[in-house]
């Protein structure tokens, strides 16, 4: 093949800091995921769940439904008919449901987003440019985190907007300003934990089948195991074995912190604003936070070692 009849043109411009490359890594990761038609099945499930919550809020706020039925309907989805409070569990429930879909999506996309870089030798392509290993790792973590946020945090925030729009508007938003803050914090926890675990796992396992099997073992098998152990030993602390539940515990901590931040006063039996059932659950949440921090730290060390082991020049 000959050369096209064009001349070489130079380029004059300033190169920016390598950190901006993280945005490119995120953009490319989104392209890779959203271009795969099979992933749209899973993303579609997420959209359906979102539409379900959206419709419930819409129906309750727009149609003339008797108060009792309204309470039942909203209660089934964790919301309360009191617009000025008691909404947190609804957002927690929504994000928890969405996270199931995220788990499935991540199980299949890990090999494409990260595993392929190791399997098909794409890593030298990244690391021989101006970025180094730090930028690559942060970029990939942000890419997976963005995917998680797009399916959990962003729709949860949209639901908050919707609830306010269809009820008392500014009053709802003003009275519950801590809710979106807590949603974002919970989303950050979920994004961080899931991205660290997925990127590390994918860097080591690389192929889709082993990643999907290990990923599901991590989140399904451990969950089942912790449930069994908890029942047999009659000790709820075994629930801490379940990373999924740990994430939810820390999510609850975020909403609790939001309430405290807002200066709301809560006394007696409702000392935890209805977010935690009792002292034990609150303590377990703190343990869950410690466990997640420890697991993520170990995973990051392992990830750095894996990336460092890749030779850029063979």
């Amino acid at each position: 093949m000959g050369i096209d009849n064009v001349r070489y043109h130079g380029w004059e411009g300033e190169l920016r800091t390598p950190w901006v490359a993280c945005a490119a890594i995120i953009r490319v990761a989104m392209l890779q995921v959203f271009r795969r038609k099979s992933y749209w099945v899973v993303i579609g499930l997420g959209l359906l769940n979102f539409l379900l919550f959206w419709s419930i809020i819409y129906a309750v706020t727009q149609f003339d439904i008797p108060r009792d039925d309204q309470d039942k309907l909203l209660g089934a989805f964790g919301f309360s008919s009191e617009a000025s409070g008691g909404q947190e569990n609804g957002y927690i429930m929504f994000m928890q449901r969405q996270s199931i879909i995220v788990m499935i999506l991540l199980a299949f996309s890990g090999s494409l987003l990260v595993g392929a870089d190791f399997r098909f030798n794409s890593l030298p392509f990244y690391l021989s440019r101006r970025i180094d290993r730090r930028h690559y790792i942060v970029g990939k973590l942000l890419a997976v985190g963005t995917l998680v946020s797009l399916l959990t945090t962003v729709p949860a925030l949209l639901l908050f907007l919707e609830y306010g729009m269809f009820t008392s508007s500014l009053d709802y938003w003003r009275d519950n300003w801590q809710t979106p803050v807590a949603v974002i914090a919970y989303g950050l926890v979920m994004s961080t934990v899931l991205s660290v675990l997925l990127v590390t796992l994918s860097a080591y396992l690389q192929k889709m089948a082993p990643i999907a099997i290990t990923w599901s073992s991590l989140f399904v098998m451990l969950s089942t195991m912790s449930g069994q152990l908890s029942r047999r030993a009659a000790d709820r602390n075994w629930h801490l074995l379940d990373p999924w539940r740990d994430i939810r515990y820390v999510g609850k901590l975020c909403f609790y912190a939001g309430k405290r931040l807002a200066g709301e006063v809560s006394q007696g039996a409702n000392a935890y604003y209805g977010i935690f059932a009792n002292d034990d659950e609150f303590r377990r949440s703190l343990w869950a936070l410690l466990i997640l921090v420890s697991v993520c730290t170990v995973a990051i060390v392992a990830l750095v070692r894996r990336v460092r082991a890749v030779e850029i020049v063979n």
Partner: protein
Amino acid sequence: MQLVDIHHVSRSYGKFQALRDVSLSLDLGTIGLVGNNGAGKSTLLKILLGLLAPDTGGGTILGCDIRHSTSDLRGRIGYMPEAAAVVPVLKGVEFVTLAGDLYGMPHRDARRRAHEVLSYVGLGELRYRRLEEYSAGNVQRLKLAAALVHDPQLLLLDEPTNGLDPAGRIGMLRLLEDLIAETGKSVILCTHLLGDVERLCDQIVVLHQGTVLRSGTMAELRHSIAGRFELQWQGGDPTGLPAALVKEGCEVKLLGDGKAQISAPRDWHTTRFFELARAADSTLTLLRPEQEDLARMFFRVTDQAPSAGVAADPRAASASTAEGGT
């Protein structure tokens, strides 16, 4: 400004010393970096790319300190890796744009440049195809485009013709020749295919067991291997002149038709040929210093047999490149 100016660079991995006391001073131009597996080419490439700091020694590449200005350095270098190194699912133009983004170019500029360089390397019509659909030859061109996107001062090409069929190899070499001629960019070519180096490079660095055996222009290195001549003569006794040359300490290989290949002893002066021819009643019709090709020179300076890992023949090289480097 010099392209490479490094002094007393050493680097070891544990007990294995990959580079020992390497000093190189190279002018802008096209440089071939050759050596057997384990010679230290990869380590030197990593240092040139700013990916690895030397244990001792220092210096500059394109004026950038090899210890401290690694990010700036990579901004001035376009590296074309040996591995396929493509990102699945992307289209050609997206891949090259990503390369520009990773160099830190503004996204819009990266996108525009991606179109330009893809057209330049001959992939203009394939730029919207997914990378999975590219042939091996086109992947090599794509990697070259990705290395060119930020208009670097130096191109570092690692086995650019590796895995290509003869037509693809010739096409790639022609493209590189045109690029060098048109842009005047400096190129460091690291390859096992000495034919490629001979065709593209005006300077050469021979690495062996972590040290620089030879470095200089092709002409300089070829000059240093003189002492071999091709001789043709007419008249007189056909065996007279060869016999006289042998008597004088030359090695003579008769080629027929009054032609011979001569290896002269040290301090041999060419006028001696004429004196001996006159004495044998013969007339010299050809006296030409023999030009060693790069492969022969390489094997002579590394004192190794041709099967040791570097190949003059591309088919042989494809086998040797499968082995790892240091």
